[in-house]
Symmetry: C2
Subunit: 390 residues, 2 copies
């Protein structure tokens, strides 16, 4: 087990009927005016918007709105948000939506106090050291952004989908009402589940050894996500399945699994970011394609862990570690297929000629990887596996 620091100051309010507490929570911080940031308007159909603004009104909090955040949130929207936030002298940001809305809000919160271009924080030239206080109402469990200091933004001009992290970006308060996710299309639930499982695997397969408690928790989260997703594909309004999936997705990336690890091997996320930057598919779809390819490529670096994964997640135990590792990866792919995910680049329309530009994009983040160091050659091989996966 590696040394670590665990610090997560976000107050998480979880459960049915909790959204109407947002105004009171913002009021506790003494704020009078916030920027209300959201996406394409689904929150106006499912009643979340109304609950939120009623709560703001009841607590005497003014707001200005900026909506239209898309999946793979855009830098241009962030600039727009910073401008509106400054013009209106808001004192905080209220994100109502999924990870894209929250990540966009974090960029606005951090950009508000920074004189330079907020993209500097994503390109590694700047560390966010001051930010507007952020509050969130989550409507799609996936990224864990509601309880961490991470943000991923896509620069449309340069086609770069890059991440930043700062302690200043942890939401002050996040509310998760699983009922708000009852009306999600199955595809979004599934994308969220794949994202959560990927976060767990990123730590699980980063090469750290002797982390029994971390492995046990990781396996427990993956098993729960699988179980809950299967229930939700049959009954999207199963409250307990929604709740278990939601809390699992939050725990998958709130620092708990990072404890004792090598920090996670984020190669699959980086390789996926190039896919969704160039093809504009959902992050969860890209991960279902890339992660199994990465697992296939790196498995021999730590075959015992792959053996354990196969046994603990899919009850595969032939007695041969190498065979089990392969069967475990295949079982993961089969499960992704069963829940309707693509598992190859071909399925999203990519061909061999796209590999070069994927590599060119991804190589900007190289060298990458903890379990195995990846540079241009390795990245290309993984994309090639992903192209033809089945």
């Amino acid at each position: 087990m590696k040394n670590f620091v665990f610090y997560n100051p976000t107050k998480l309010i979880f459960g049915e009927g909790t959204i109407n507490r947002i105004g009171e929570e913002i009021k506790k911080f003494g704020l009078k005016k916030v920027l209300l940031h959201y996406g394409g308007g689904s929150i106006k159909k499912n009643g979340v918007y109304e609950q939120v603004v009623n709560s703001l009104k009841e607590n005497g909090i003014e707001w200005v709105e900026i909506s239209g955040v898309k999946p793979n949130p855009r830098l241009s929207k962030v600039y727009e948000g910073i401008k509106i936030a400054k013009e209106n002298d808001v004192e905080g940001i209220l994100a109502v939506g999924g990870g894209s809305v929250i990540d966009s809000s974090k960029a606005i919160a951090g950009g508000f106090y920074y004189d330079g271009d907020v993209w500097d924080a994503y390109s590694g030239k700047h560390v966010i050291n001051k930010a507007l206080p952020l509050f969130t109402v989550l409507t799609l469990s996936a990224t864990g952004s509601e309880m961490n200091g991470n943000s991923v933004i896509t620069n449309e001009e340069t086609k770069q989908k890059w991440a930043t992290h700062s302690e200043k970006l942890y939401p002050k308060v996040s509310i998760i009402d699983p009922v708000a996710q009852f009306s999600l299309p199955a595809k979004q639930t599934v994308n969220g589940a794949v994202d959560a499982i990927s976060h767990v695997m990123e730590y699980y397969f980063d090469g750290t050894k002797n982390t029994e408690i971390q492995d046990q928790i990781a396996e427990g989260i993956i098993r729960t996500v699988i179980l809950s997703t299967e229930i939700l594909l049959k009954n999207p309004k199963d409250y307990n399945a929604r709740a278990n999936l939601a809390w699992s997705a939050t725990l998958a990336l709130n620092g708990l699994l990072k404890a004792g690890s090598n920090g996670g091997d984020w190669s699959s996320h980086a390789l996926e970011h190039s896919v969704s930057a160039l093809f504009d598919i959902a992050h969860g779809e890209g991960l279902a394609i890339i992660f199994p390819a990465w697992l296939e490529y790196v498995k021999n670096e730590y075959i015992e862990k792959f053996d354990r994964f196969a046994k603990e997640i899919f009850n595969i135990d032939t007695g041969n570690a190498s065979i089990d590792a392969d069967l475990g990866i295949q079982a993961l792919k089969e499960w992704y297929k069963r829940i309707g995910q693509p598992i190859s680049l071909k399925e999203i329309g990519a061909t061999e000629k796209d590999i070069e530009r994927l590599v060119e994009n991804a190589v900007q983040s190289s060298p990458m990887g903890k379990l195995k160091k990846l540079e241009e050659k390795e990245i290309k091989e993984i994309y090639n596996i992903a192209l033809k996966n089945k």
Copy 2:
């Protein structure tokens, strides 16, 4: 899954060689003088004291000392600590020790600003709403006090061992260096393990349903504690077993398992507090005696969960839930015996005539219980089971 709020602002620094960071962390809060609180002096033998005071000196932090905290920390020592803290105008408290030292420090921290008797916070007459900032260096993993707002103090005069909780009592920073536990007597390691398992079971068996993710994590913690304890009984200096046990014990009572629960059924802890208040045995010994008796008494309230416990923890699966439940409880007792714990009141010298005074003491906290409500009659029956357990 029940609604919940998760909020834990403690910064936890974990790993080998981290104790020397304590001075710097205290300095970040702007403190110049602290009360250094510790126990019987083992920290002077194992080098922890020296690491701590060197770090304080290097960071220009003065301190006054009060030592001599015993297991089941005494109210009289708390009074003494409050007096010294006031006389010396300390600005914070640094607890170096196990749960007893930390709990005593919390009582001093909360009592410092309270004009009345700090015992009021334990007897339910007062809620601690202001406290000195608390820092801890943990030397025995067991109670989880390093990352929660709980404190348990024994009033020697009234023979009451009671608890309090406040958000103001969360340590600002806690340091856990597993190496500091290399020199622990096996008995103390074992007591800590039993305490941690008990905390997990308190939530696991509180009657909440549909908490898959919570159950998975709970089972993972118990399995890890069992595995790590067995390794440590053979090799007390196994770093990874120490680390896994330490982090598991912290997670067992830092709010993670409370999420989604009924709040835990703390009957066993309350019944044990009467045992250790009257017999002055270690808390972990008392729990090894009381918990299986409570499980035996309440099992039919939720037999499916007991069935699951037997399967997930001890691989017991006969296909009959009732038989499995019994075998699971017996397996727990057998494991407690194997690691050297008593499992009956008889073994600590109690006889039938002691039952009355145990009941008289415990009944002050009744009615208690979530899975099953306990009053005088039920409490007596559980003590009777505990008397003759084998």
